[in-house]
Every structure is written in structure tokens, then in C-alpha cells.
């Protein structure tokens, strides 16, 4: 009752705004929703307060789909615009110049198509949801095991999960078949970590592992309200064991909770109590929808749209004005008759304005958005289909998490890349170590003294070496995963039989460094065999079993102080077989060396720096002996801190800092992180493409600089500038100014040596600068000096930021985004620490690496290898940019070409708003007669071959800065659109003006004939324009372009041969098209009009290609010339061969090398030859 009252009061308080929701508010859950009969006051148990276990990723239901989807769609400005136009048309009644059908039908079509797409996507989500929600799970209800659907689980239910099943909701583990209450799980689908993890129940509930036992379990769980952090759980379980005993209170941590999405492994079953269900599970809280990113093109598109809206209003106002000027001059002619609707003059003006608006509204392309959406959607599927971005080794293909940014990949100016796991494999390999001041390296599986080259023998190992290796084998969180099903059986592994034993068990660790180290220790004779837990007797506890040179020893693991990034170290408190207690610690040298009191500090530091210089990752190992009292003290402090409900973390940290000090230094290790394949090639290509590459890493400066060198991020001859260890802002500013000065000096020196030679030479010989910044200095930069820093960066070819915190990574991206040029940025990374920068950058790319899936989930694109970035940007980015930019330009062009004759016609019909085109033409122009070619262009266009794009990264510069949508290209398209409109209007006008008959039988065409004629010319020209723009003609393009023209002809033939009144009244159009087609004059006129339209297009294209070619065109022509040479050389060679065969039986020797040469060339270019020929 208390609880209920408290809740109620809190709720009331909250609702009246008295009490803010505290961040870590807790909830109390009664296991199986029951209370111990002997416990005090009765408690109100209300599982209904919490959501059920339904997961909903779908947006719509069958009932709300239509209204909700329509609402969503009409929030789009273009759809809303056409809705408005439709409403205007309807409200104009008889005064509408064109039927409302002309805007309503395309709108319905577009909305319908979009709704189908969105409905289908939602149906897939529903299916996936249902599969999860309806899946059977086992829970205990009324003390019996029943099977229910997953969605019916309520908070407090005891759930039974079997091996290889995934957990249906967040559970606090109660027990498993294991009497110690342990189980193994894999969290691969949550964070991508593939290793098995041990989770456990609190010991007090471990024996409640059968249904009869569970009947007697009375307990309650107090825990936090749901929060998204996967690795944090703070709670407490109260167990009422019997009326006589006091309530047992145990703390619950992350190791006690089984998260939805994780999977049970190697454990027959577990019981757990549901604490968070449905949308409150940590998995659901983590799958938040990302903020939409908008591409550069999309922004331009909206600018264009606004521009054309302005044009529309201007045209409309102009015509309305002219109409009144004209009427005031001549008045309405008698034959038209008085306007039956007599309106006041101001209303008449409004009606006229709206009527012109309706007439010209087609200048805004209705199907632009739906076409763009389809192009992007299908385009992103093509990216995931790319076999060159598929990683065979890990069976991972590329994925596009969003389809909105395909074209943005062609606009990247800055690439921010993580180092570990992105540039490198994140596959660690033990290389060297320093033990007691002596340096060793691994050589053919043996540990060898660096100086004497004497291998360390397993049998006769120095004490220091053994101690060091034992430390490696003990101080870690590695698990032994047996490939045999029984997980608990200790793996037996004889030393020296690593080949066989590798098959029987393997190490699994969340940190690849640890794994590499434990494996290395195994190779050198100290093998970690696994961890066992003994529950009974005096020797209860966790034991680490290691084999020291064949002899098995057991070390009792008392405590693990886990790794955290602020401490940069981890520790294990271990009781040695001889009863001594020792603290083993390993960590970063910067964190540990200052804490060491004894040991070879200087020599070790020297070695550590050496390791870092050759690009190794370093760890320092040290120990501290503890006596019983010290340990008891530590233990009590730990327990106290760990049981705290408030500020637990701070308290635990304080204790840890208290423990971890006064070490004895053992030595250090150097582990190599191999570079991924093709990294330096990719970085070079990006640089040639004009993309600035920055490496942002949390790693230390020396390692980072080394990796930068080995991946050619830093190149020989680059002037390295350091901006590190800056302790004050002033110092920082001073250093930056110094660097800037040195840069300008080097440039000055240089510019005196270059005397107006070609630019190319100048670029090649300029001294390039590389900048190294560390996190500490960056903190100063970010608070002040942003402009100075940006100036410095813009003068540097390569920038390396080391010692960065995840947040700083995002800050750097943000900083560059805000620089005056507003460059388009891309961030690529693999770890959770890269998520923030991935989300901050314009385009985020996730590497599906070993550090989990968080980066992939936060990203817009994801693939397995860094080198795929080259293809993603240079090929896909280039193509999709060109495709979409042309698509946008073409859409506005084709509507200008289409609707401008409509405007011109007004000058010749007394500004009376007569439509030039028939209703059907207005309706179908955008959706049937001109839509498919541009969509297919948007999917298949390749202005240059993929191979050439990959080989010539500088082609990427062609499209930089949204080149294809600049004012120049805009004018090109718009002016040609207007030209086409002028030709297609004035040509027919001169044919029809004071019309002599166009028919041999002297009959006449009227205004419908004129409109149909002009429309026919427009459809042909607009489709031919697409043909002129297409560089890559697959059969689909042929099909679509010629097909669109044919469809237009067939449609119009049928349309004008049958009379019907609904939905379009086509009687005025009856037989008009057939009559037109039977006129030879019309055909001749079409031919000359289409030619007149296309001549300037081709002229401009060719002239610019020769006089000011783009890089791509330059390349194209070069290839073409090469091909021609090739063709001629082939033909001359074959002629020579023919001649030589004819002249003598044996071909002369002289021609042979020639043929060889040709063959050599041919092989490389056969494909091109075939396609071009």
C-alpha cells in the first residue's frame, strides 16, 4: 500500500508540475507479481502500469494507414502545393481554364504510388514485428509453465529461456541449470561482440532453478527506470527466504541482467524475471530513429522550387495585368458574350489571377519528389548489391541505412576517419615486449632476446620472464570458449599442441589486445586454461587455471577491477597458490608509469616509446603485493561501494583509485595492429580526388603518427607540424601562429622559384604540411582560436588528431562543418566511440568491424573494409551525384519546355486563359510521357567507366561544390528549355497563323489541333533531350526513351479515336490526332522543329567539350582517341599479317613483336573496345 501511495503521490506531483522526474527513478517489481505471505503490509502490485512486451517498429495500422499516411504525404510542400492547386481549380468552378482532373489525377497517382511504397515498407515491418511479438515464450503463471506469445509477457513474469533462444525482454536472472547460477550469452545482435559472456544470478536465487523451487521464491527487484545505456544497470533484489530470516538484499549489476536481443548459449535453460518490457527494453530504447540528414542537392532542389514558385507568381501577375490592360483597351468582343458570373471587379481580378496560376502551375514538376524518392531508394539497393563492396572473408555486404544521401557521396570534401579498426584490422598480433628492462620479440613462435637473439626456453625460463607471462595470463577478462558443447568442463590443453588444441577451444575477449596477449603467453609456455567456480566448501570462489610450463596451477580470482577509458587500466586481485594476495594491473603507460615505485621505469619507458615508434600498441604490466589486512580493508570498502544505490560509480571509482597505486613495474608489451588492405591506396586516391583526409584517434601520438606514416596519410617530404601538449590557450595560439608563419615562409620561398610555369608543376613541388593535434590542445582550440586553427588546417594536406575523446571527434567534425566554406564532411569509423562523429558528419559511414555494431547502426552507409570507401565515393558518389543533379535539372527543364508555350499562347488569345493543351496531356505529361527515361537515367547513367573513375580519382573534382547545379548549369538547362519552348510554340504558330490548310483536302485545324501538334513536338524533343544527355545506353534506356514516345503516340491515337465524357471530356479532341498524322505538312514540320530544337543542345555540348572540357570529358576523349589508334593499329597489323601470309608461307619475324604489342594493349582494353564498337 505504501508503495502505491508513494507512486500515486509522485504521479500527482508530476502532473501538477511540483516534482520533476528524477533521472534515475526506480521501480519495484515483485517476482511473479506476488508477495511473501509473511511479509508486512500488503503491496499493490500493478504490472499493468508498464507497457506489455509488444515491439512496434511499424508506423501505421490498418485503420490509421490512410489518414496518417495522407497527412504525412501532404506535409510535403510539393504535394501540398498540388492539393492547393486542385482545390483552387475546384473552387473556380466554371472559370477554371483546365479541368481539376489535370492536377488531381497526377496527385492521386503520385500519392498512391508513394502510399504503396510506404505501405509495403510498413507491411514488412509489421511482419517482422509479428514474428517477434507472436513468437512463443515460456513463462510461469499460477506456478505452472505455460507457453504464451512474446507480446503477452508482463513485468514481473518469470520467464524460462532455453539454449539458443533469444531473451524476449530485459530479464533479471534468477537461476539457471547451473547451481552457481551462471549462463553464457552472446550479445552479437546488440553490440556485435561475438564472444560469449558469462552472466550470473545473485547466489541467493541460484538454487531456485526448478518450477517447484520457484514456487517458494518471494522476492522483489528494485531497479532503475529504463535507460538506453546497454552497459549500465543498477538495482537491488530483496529476497524473503523464510518467515524467520531477515530479508536478504543483494545488489544487481549489468552482469545480472539479460537484455532483450541477446541469445542464450551453451546453457540448457535459465529463469529470469521480466523487468523491462516492450518499448522499454534497452534494445528498443537504442533503436531510436536518427535525425534526417539532408543532402546538398536536396537543398538546391528546394531553392529551385522556390525560384520557380517565384517565376510562377511573376508570370501569373504579368498575365493578369496584361489582361486588364488589354480589356480596358478593346473590351470583350461581342461574340464571346457577357460573362454569366457577374463578380465585383476585385473578385474578378482574384479569379483571373488564380486561373492563370492554375494554367501555369505545371512549371512546378509534380512527380519530381516521387521520382527522386524512387531513384534514391533503388539506388541505395544497387549500392548494397555491389559485389566489389562485399567482404568475402566475413560474408558482409555493404548496406545503405538511408537512401537520402547517395548523391552526397559525390560531394565529400573532408573525410574524418578513425584509426583502430578502420584503417587497421583491429586484429592484434603480439610483436615485442620489455621485461625488467630487457627487450624481447617474438620470432617464429618463440620469445627472443632482442640484443643476444637467444630464445627463451620454456623449460628454463628466467623468473622475471615467467612472472611477466603469468601476469599476462592472469590479468585479463578473456573467456575460454570450448567448441565442444559442454562449457563448464575445463579445457585440457597440453603445451606445445596448440595446433590440435586450437580446434578444441579458443579464447574470446571483448578486447582484441587481451586476446592477442593471452594467446602469446600460451605460445611461450604459460597457458590460460579457463575459469572455474567452486561453490562449496572452504575453497569456494572463482579460480583461474593456468598451466605454467605444463604444470597446472590454480589462482583464486578475488576481484576484477574492470577497464575504463578514464583510468585507462584494469586490475585483478588474485590469491596465488601459495596464499599471497597480489594485485595485477595492466594499462596505458601514461596512466601506470607514474604510479610505479619500483622496477625498471626508465628502460621500460624507453622501450615503450620504441614500440610506439614502430606503430605498436603498448600496455604496461605491474603488480602490487597485498597483505591480508590490506585485502580485508579493500574488500570491505569495495563491498560497501558496490552496494551503494546512490552514486555507486563515483564511490567505486574512489575505492579503485585508492587501491591502484604504489606498483612494482614488470614490463610492457607491444602489439601490432595490422593495416587493412588498400588503406594507403584509398587515402592517396581520396587526396587526388581533392578530399582532405583527417585521422581522428584516441590512440597515443606516437602510435598514431606511425600508423599515419605507414598508411601514407603522412608522406615523406611532408613538413610535420605539431600542436600537442599545449597547456594554456595563449601557448596554443602562439604555436598556431608560428606554424602559420613557417607555412607562409615556405610558400614565399617557393613562389620565387616557380616562374609562371604550368600549374601542375607548381602543385607538385609545393611543400606540403601535415599537422598533428592532440586532445589536450584541441580542448583549448575549441574554446577559443577556432578561426586560427581552421586557417592552419586549410594549409595542411594531412591532419592527425590523437588522444581524442569520442565527443572531441564530433567537435572536430562540427568545427569543420562550420568553417566559412561549409564543406561536406564524411566520418568513418567502427567503434562506439565513433558514433557521435558519424552522426555529426554530413555522411556517416560505419565499418562492420570487431568493435560491435553501434557505429554501423548510427551510420548512413556501412561496409566491412575501409578500402571500399574509394569505390563508394569515387564511383557511386560520382554516378549518383551526376544522376540526381541531372534528374533535378531535367525535371525543371522539361516543365519549362512544356508550359512556356502555354504562357506564350496567352498573348495570342486575348489573355483569356485558354489552355493550349488538352486535359489528358496536362495530366499525363509528367507521369507517363516523360517520367520513365529520367528514372532509368537516374539509375543507370555512367558518364565514364567505373574503371576510369577508380584509376583517375581527380575526376571526382569535376563534381565538387555541387557543380552540376551551379548557376552555369542552371542557365544551360533553363535557356535550352526556353529555346525548345520558343521553337515549339512559334514554329507551329507560323504554320497556323492565318491558317492556310495543312491538309491536301484543304480542311482546317483548330486550336485543339495546334495544341496537340505542339504537345507532340514537346514530347519528342523532351525525350530526345534525355537521349542527348544519356552517355550509357542500356537496353532499358532505349526501351524507356523510345518507348515513351511510342506510348505517347499510341495513347493519343486511341484517345482521339474514341469519344467519352468521363473522367476527361475528350470530345473536342475527337480525331484531331489522326487528322494531324494524316497531314504530310505536320510530319515535315515535326522533323524541322525537332531538329531546330536539338541543334543548339548538341552544339553547346560539343563546343564546351572541346574548348572547356571537364576532367571526365577530357578522359573520355582521350580513351576514344586511344581506341581509334588501337583500331587503326589492329587493322594495319592484320593487313600486315595478311600481306606477310600472302607473300611468304612463314610470317616474317619482324611483325611478331608488333602483334604481341597489340595483343598486350588489347587485353587491357578489350572490354572497352567491345562496348564502344
Amino acid at each position: 500500500m505504501q508503495n502505491f501511495a508513494r507512486r500515486s503521490i509522485r504521479r500527482i506531483g508530476r502532473s501538477v508540475g511540483l516534482e520533476a522526474i528524477p533521472p534515475g527513478e526506480s521501480r519495484t517489481i515483485y517476482v511473479a507479481n506476488r508477495q511473501a505471505p509473511w511479509a508486512g503490509t500488503e503491496v499493490y502490485i500493478a504490472p499493468e502500469e508498464y507497457p506489455d512486451n509488444t515491439i512496434t517498429s511499424s508506423k501505421y495500422t490498418a485503420w490509421n494507414f490512410i489518414p496518417k499516411n495522407l497527412f504525412e504525404q501532404f506535409r510535403r510542400i510539393a504535394n501540398f502545393y498540388f492539393l492547393c492547386v486542385g482545390i483552387i481549380q475546384l473552387s473556380l468552378g466554371d472559370d477554371t481554364p483546365v479541368s481539376p482532373v489535370t492536377s488531381i489525377m497526377p496527385l492521386v497517382f503520385v500519392v498512391f504510388v508513394t502510399a504503396i511504397k510506404q505501405g509495403y515498407e510498413d507491411w514488412l515491418r509489421h511482419k517482422a514485428d509479428n514474428e517477434v511479438n507472436k513468437s512463443p515464450v515460456h513463462v510461469i503463471r499460477q506456478d505452472e509453465l505455460v507457453e504464451i506469445m512474446s507480446q503477452d509477457i508482463r513485468v514481473g513474469d518469470i520467464v524460462k529461456v532455453h539454449s539458443d533462444e533469444s531473451f524476449p525482454c530485459d530479464l533479471v536472472m534468477l537461476s539457471s541449470d547451473d547451481p552457481e547460477g551462471n549462463c553464457h550469452i552472446t550479445t552479437a545482435s546488440l553490440d556485435g561482440e561475438t564472444n560469449l559472456k558469462i552472466h550470473s544470478s545473485v547466489p541467493d536465487t541460484a538454487h531456485y532453478n526448478t518450477i517447484p523451487e520457484l514456487k517458494g521464491l518471494y522476492a522483489s527487484v528494485e531497479c532503475q527506470e529504463p535507460e538506453p545505456d546497454l552497459y549500465r544497470f543498477v538495482g537491488r533484489i530483496n529476497i524473503w527466504k523464510s518467515p524467520n530470516e531477515p530479508v536478504a538484499v543483494k545488489t544487481l549489476g549489468p552482469e545480472n541482467i539479460l537484455l532483450r536481443g541477446a541469445r542464450l548459449k551453451n546453457t540448457p535453460y535459465i529463469y529470469g524475471v521480466a523487468v523491462h518490457t516492450g518499448q522499454e527494453t534497452k534494445m528498443a530504447l537504442n533503436s531510436h530513429t536518427k535525425l534526417g540528414k539532408r543532402s546538398v542537392i536536396e537543398k538546391s532542389m528546394n531553392t529551385y522550387l522556390l525560384f520557380y514558385l517565384f517565376v510562377l507568381v511573376a508570370e501569373t501577375s504579368l498575365c493578369t495585368g496584361l489582361k486588364y490592360w488589354y480589356i480596358s483597351r478593346v473590351g470583350e468582343p461581342w461574340y464571346v458574350g457577357e460573362d454569366p458570373s457577374k463578380r465585383p471587379i476585385f473578385l474578378e481580378g482574384l479569379v483571373d489571377f488564380l486561373a492563370f496560376l492554375v494554367l501555369f502551375n505545371y512549371v512546378i514538376p509534380i512527380s519530381l519528389y516521387v521520382t527522386v524518392e524512387f531513384q534514391k531508394f533503388l539506388g541505395s539497393i544497387f549500392i548494397s548489391w555491389d559485389i566489389e563492396m562485399y567482404d568475402e572473408k566475413n560474408n558482409l555486404k555493404a548496406q545503405a541505412n538511408t537512401s537520402d544521401l547517395n548523391e552526397e557521396l559525390g560531394q565529400i570534401e573532408y573525410v574524418f576517419t578513425d584509426k583502430t579498426g578502420t584503417l587497421t584490422e583491429n586484429e592484434m598480433c603480439f610483436r615485442q615486449c620489455s621485461i625488467g628492462g630487457a627487450q624481447f620479440e617474438e620470432y617464429h613462435g618463440n620469445l627472443v632476446h632482442m640484443s643476444s637473439r637467444v630464445p627463451v626456453s620454456t623449460a628454463n625460463m628466467e623468473a622475471a620472464v615467467e612472472e611477466f607471462l603469468v601476469a599476462i595470463a592472469l590479468c585479463h577478462t578473456v573467456h575460454v570458449h570450448s567448441n565442444n558443447s559442454s562449457a563448464n568442463s575445463t579445457p585440457v590443453k597440453a603445451n606445445g599442441m596448440s595446433m590440435d588444441s586450437a580446434a578444441s577451444f579458443e579464447y574470446q575477449a571483448s578486447s582484441p589486445d587481451e586476446k592477442a596477449l593471452v594467446e602469446a603467453a600460451d605460445r611461450f609456455g604459460i597457458t590460460f586454461l579457463g575459469q572455474t567456480r567452486i561453490t562449496e566448501g572452504k575453497s569456494a570462489g572463482d579460480f583461474l587455471k593456468i598451466s605454467v610450463r605444463g604444470e597446472e596451477k590454480e589462482y583464486e580470482l578475488l576481484h576484477i577491477l574492470e577497464f575504463d577509458p578514464t583510468r585507462k587500466r584494469m586490475s585483478a586481485i588474485i590469491k596465488l597458490p601459495n596464499g599471497n594476495i597480489r594485485l595485477y594491473t595492466k594499462g596505458a603507460e601514461s596512466a601506470l608509469l607514474p604510479l610505479c615505485l619500483t622496477g625498471e621505469r626508465d628502460k621500460t619507458l624507453y622501450h615503450v616509446n620504441q614500440f610506439a615508434e614502430i606503430g605498436l600498441r603498448t600496455l604496461v604490466y605491474c603488480i602490487k603485493e597485498l597483505n591480508e589486512e590490506q585485502y580485508a580493508d579493500i574488500k570491505s570498502k569495495m563491498t560497501e561501494a558496490r552496494n551503494a544505490l546512490q552514486d555507486r560509480e563515483e564511490k567505486v571509482n574512489a575505492v579503485i583509485t585508492y587501491i591502484e597505486k604504489d606498483f612494482h613495474l614488470l614490463g610492457a608489451t607491444g602489439v601490432e595492429d595490422k593495416l587493412q588492405d588498400g588503406v594507403s591506396d584509398t587515402i592517396q586516391a581520396l587526396r587526388l580526388a581533392g578530399v582532405k583526409v583527417w585521422v581522428l584517434t584516441g590512440d597515443k601520438q606516437e602510435t598514431a603518427v606511425n600508423i599515419s606514416h605507414s598508411c601514407t596519410h603522412f608522406q615523406r617530404g611532408m613538413n610535420e607540424l605539431y600542436l600537442v601538449q599545449q597547456r594554456t590557450m595563449e601557448q596554443c595560439a602562439e604555436t598556431i601562429l608560428q606554424h602559420l608563419k613557417s607555412i607562409s615562409q615556405s610558400r614565399y620561398q617557393h613562389s620565387t622559384t616557380v616562374t609562371g610555369n604550368t600549374r601542375r608543376i607548381q602543385e607538385d613541388h609545393v611543400t606540403t604540411h601535415a599537422l598533428v593535434v592532440d586532445g589536450m590542445s584541441l580542448a583549448h582550440i575549441l574554446t577559443d582560436h577556432r578561426d586560427l586553427f581552421m586557417e592552419l588546417c586549410q594549409n595542411c594536406t594531412a591532419v592527425l588528431c590523437c588522444r581524442m575523446s569520442p565527443l572531441q571527434k564530433a567537435e572536430v567534425v562540427k568545427l569543420m562543418k562550420a568553417s566559412p566554406e561549409h564543406p561536406v564532411t564524411l566520418a568513418i569509423g567502427d567503434g562506439a566511440n565513433d558514433c557521435s562523429m558519424i552522426q555529426e558528419a554530413h555522411v556517416g559511414v560505419g565499418i562492420m568491424g570487431k568493435e560491435g555494431r553501434q557505429a554501423v547502426r548510427a551510420s548512413d552507409f556501412a561496409f566491412a573494409r575501409f578500402q571500399f570507401l574509394k569505390k563508394l565515393l569515387l564511383v557511386h558518389g560520382h554516378y549518383y551525384y551526376i544522376r540526381l543533379a541531372t534528374l533535378v535539372q531535367y525535371f525543371f527543364y522539361k516543365n519549362v519546355a512544356f508550359i512556356s508555350p502555354q504562357l506564350l499562347f496567352q498573348f495570342y488569345n486575348g489573355y483569356s486563359q485558354t489552355t493550349l493543351y488538352d486535359t489528358a496531356f496536362l495530366t499525363f505529361y509528367n507521369i507517363f510521357f516523360t517520367s520513365l527515361p529520367i528514372l532509368l537515367y537516374g539509375l543507370f547513367e555512367q558518364n565514364i567507366k567505373k574503371v576510369d573513375l577508380m584509376k583517375n580519382p581527380e575526376l571526382y573534382k569535376d563534381i565538387a561544390k555541387n557543380r552540376r547545379l551551379d548557376i552555369f548549369h542552371f542557365l544551360y538547362w533553363t535557356i535550352l528549355g526556353i529555346w525548345h519552348a520558343l521553337v515549339n510554340y512559334y514554329g507551329p504558330m507560323y504554320l497556323f497563323w492565318d491558317a492556310p490548310s495543312l491538309m491536301p483536302d484543304q480542311t482546317m485545324f483548330g486550336n485543339f489541333g495546334l495544341g496537340t501538334f505542339i504537345f507532340t513536338a514537346v514530347v519528342i524533343v523532351v525525350n530526345l533531350k534525355m537521349a542527348v544527355e544519356t552517355n550509357y545506353w542500356t537496353w532499358l534506356n532505349h526501351f524507356a526513351i523510345w518507348g515513351s514516345i511510342i506510348v505517347y503516340f499510341l495513347f493519343t491515337l486511341v484517345y482521339s479515336a474514341i469519344m467519352f465524357g468521363w473522367p476527361i471530356d475528350n470530345k473536342p479532341m475527337y480525331w484531331v490526332f489522326l487528322q494531324l498524322l494524316s497531314s504530310p505538312t505536320v510530319w515535315l514540320a515535326l522533323l524541322v522543329l525537332v531538329t531546330a530544337c536539338m541543334v543548339p543542345d548538341i552544339f553547346i555540348k560539343v563546343i564546351f567539350k572541346h574548348i572547356r572540357p571537364s576532367r571526365v570529358q577530357h578522359k573520355q576523349m582521350k580513351m576514344k582517341n586511344k581506341l581509334q589508334q588501337l583500331k587503326t593499329s589492329i587493322s594495319t597489323v592484320s593487313e600486315q599479317m595478311l600481306l606477310s601470309v600472302q607473300s611468304s608461307r612463314a610470317p616474317s619475324r619482324a611483325t611478331t613483336p608488333n602483334i604481341e604489342g597489340v595483343r598486350y594493349v588489347t587485353r587491357s582494353e578489350t572490354a572497352e573496345l567491345v562496348t564502344t564498337l
Binding site: D94, G337, F905, M1004, T1081, T1091, A1092
Partner: protein, 353 residues
């Protein structure tokens, strides 16, 4: 989701031409060298075509007689002044003499031409009822409202639609033109001047025991002098909605200056070889007022070609476009010679198109 997850199948994308965007494709690269033959070809093709068209058009003989201000016979008034009010037209007969200087061979067609007459005015264009013209008897509710204000009248409490309704029909061209060669009248045929499909499909008379009966519930349009079933007193089949003068008028012209086919010269008896040179008289029963909108009226006699009437636009267009193509071809030849062999300098890179 889970089903997919456990089936650790091969996720390798299929290596097909479609999925890998390697569909076989034609990749034309337009350069001056490749397109110049096309320009020369088009130029050389178009110029002769244009000349041919121009010659054909010039062979068509055309006589235009503007009779807007012809004088009333026996009075000192122009007919235009007499016939000013469209709603109550007076009658005005006038004659215009003209000379044909050389023989006109072949079939001759007669047109009337109007200027400054906006048959393409929006309210005018739609002011008709196509169903009515298809022979459907319309009531007040079914009649196209666009016909207003020429939709009908209420007579003795019942609504009677005009037949045909609307502004187009109401403003039917009402002059009667006759022609004589000296004193010989030139035979003029008033059929075969409309589209076959209009005459046979799109325009139908309503049914009734007689034509007059078929139009029994209708009124003649406001400005008409005869009801629709009495448009052609000589040919009973050329009456009602099927009257070809009406059909021709109902096909609204695209521009304010237009001509419409009026008559075909009857070449069967007297004028078998066309119209001989000599003096002709155009006699006009002048009823149609055009001065109110500053219009003019013309009578046009024209021969035919396979292209239709006299129209030099097409020929000129072909010649101009052909010449432009040749010039472009020439420019491309120069470019090809100048740039074709040597590659343009990379420093000259532009934006391209």
C-alpha cells in the same frame, strides 16, 4: 528477423550484369569529329527539301479580296456601317470586282478569312454542348452550363435551349459569298469542306419525324435569322447540325487571324480547267459585323498542293535550319582540325556540359 539471422546464408550479392550495373551499353561520345557528318548530312538534306517545299508553296495561287468596307450597292454607305449591330442586322448587298491576271489551273477552293477574331478565347472555346451536337436532346439541367449566356430562353414558362447553344454557334459567320466570272456565275459547292469524321460521327441531328420536328423543343440561337434546320435551303441533307458551314465554324481557330474553308469551286461543267484569267465579281450578302472588334473580312481563292494551302513557312524553316546545320558543321570541322588531334590542355579544364 530471427529467421534471417540464424540462416547464416551467403550474403554475397549476385554477380549479374544488372545488379553490378554492367548491362551491355552503347556509350556514344559526341565530339566535333563524330557529329559533324550528321550536321553536314542534315544540312545537305534539309536545304533541298526546303527549296522543294518553297517551290510547292509558291506554285499555289492565292487571290485575297478584302471586302470589309465594300460599299452597299446603290448607296454611299459601306456595308460595315450598315451592319453594325449584331443583334438586329440589317441587310446589305455589296459587290467587289477583282481581276485574276493569269489562269488558275486545278481545283480552286474558296475561303473566308477573319482578323482580330478570337475564336480561341477561353469562354468562347468551351461555349458549346458537344452532346447536343451529337443529337442528344438537352433540357435545362443537362445542357452544358458553359453555353451561358447563349444557352436558351424561357418561353411561356418552359425552358427552350438554343439549337445549337453557346457563343460559338451564336456567332456563326453569316455572310453569303457568290462569285461570277463576268456574268457567268461560278458554281460553288458547299459540302466536302468539313472533316469526314465531324460530318459523320461528331455531329448528328436529333431524331424526329422531320428535321423540323427533331428541333421542335428548341429555339434558334439569338443572333441567327434562320433556325438550324433551315440553314441550307437548297440541300435538305445539309441542314441541322450537319450543316457543313456550321461544322467548319464550330472547329474553333487557333489564332485571331484565321481563314476557314467556305466553298469548293465546281469544276464539273463550266470551269473544268480551273479559273481563267479575267474580271470577277464577288457578291456579298453582308450580314456579319466585324468593325466592332476592329476586324476585317476577306475572301480567298486558292489552289491546292499536296501540302495544303500556300505556306512558305515550312520551306523557309527547312532552308534556315539546313543552313545553320551547315554552319555548325563547318565550325565543328574547324574545331576538329584544331583540337581533334591534340588533347586540350588539362589546365584549361572547365565545367563541361
Amino acid at each position: 528477423m530471427s529467421a534471417e539471422g540464424t540462416r547464416s546464408g551467403d550474403k554475397k550479392p549476385r554477380d549479374t550484369a544488372f545488379k553490378q550495373q554492367r548491362l551491355p551499353a552503347w556509350q556514344p561520345i559526341m565530339t566535333a569529329g563524330t557529329v559533324l557528318p550528321a550536321f553536314y548530312g542534315v544540312g545537305l538534306l534539309f536545304i533541298p527539301i526546303g527549296i522543294g517545299l518553297l517551290v510547292t508553296s509558291n506554285n499555289v495561287q492565292e487571290i485575297v479580296v478584302d471586302y470589309t468596307n465594300c460599299k452597299q450597292a446603290g448607296a454611299n454607305l459601306t456595308c460595315a456601317e450598315v451592319v453594325q449591330n449584331v443583334s438586329s442586322p440589317g441587310t446589305c448587298m455589296c459587290q467587289v470586282d477583282f481581276t485574276i491576271s493569269s489562269d488558275i489551273a486545278g481545283s480552286v477552293y474558296m475561303y473566308y478569312g477573319l482578323t482580330n477574331f478570337f475564336q480561341n478565347h477561353r469562354r468562347y472555346v468551351k461555349s458549346r454542348d458537344d452532346d447536343q451536337l451529337l443529337g442528344v436532346k438537352q433540357s435545362r439541367s443537362t445542357l452544358n452550363t458553359d453555353c451561358k449566356p447563349y444557352d436558351g430562353e424561357t418561353v411561356n414558362g418552359t425552358f427552350m435551349p438554343y439549337a445549337p447553344c453557346g457563343a460559338i454557334a451564336n456567332s456563326l459567320f453569316s455572310d453569303t459569298l457568290t462569285l461570277s466570272y463576268g456574268s457567268t456565275p461560278v458554281g460553288l459547292i458547299n459540302t466536302g469542306i468539313a472533316w469526314w469524321t465531324d460530318k459523320n460521327v461528331k455531329f448528328r441531328n436529333p431524331t424526329g419525324s422531320s428535321l423540323q420536328d427533331a428541333f421542335s423543343d428548341t429555339l434558334k440561337p439569338k443572333y441567327w435569322q434562320n433556325p438550324v434546320y433551315e440553314l441550307d435551303s437548297n440541300n435538305p441533307d445539309n441542314n441541322g447540325y450537319l450543316n457543313e458551314d456550321l461544322i467548319v465554324w464550330m472547329r474553333t481557330a487557333a489564332f485571331p487571324t484565321f481563314r476557314k474553308l467556305y466553298r469548293r469551286v465546281n469544276h464539273t461543267d463550266t470551269f473544268q480547267d480551273g479559273l481563267p484569267a479575267g474580271n470577277y465579281t464577288l457578291t456579298v450578302d453582308y450580314k456579319y459585323p466585324v468593325t466592332a472588334f476592329d476586324g476585317t473580312k476577306r475572301m480567298i481563292l486558292s489552289t491546292v498542293s499536296w501540302l495544303g494551302g500556300k505556306n512558305s513557312f515550312l520551306g523557309i524553316a527547312y532552308i534556315v535550319v539546313g543552313c545553320i546545320c551547315l554552319v555548325v558543321g563547318l565550325v565543328f570541322t574547324i574545331i576538329h582540325i584544331k583540337y581533334g588531334k591534340k588533347q586540350p590542355d588539362m589546365t584549361d579544364l572547365g565545367t563541361g556540359m
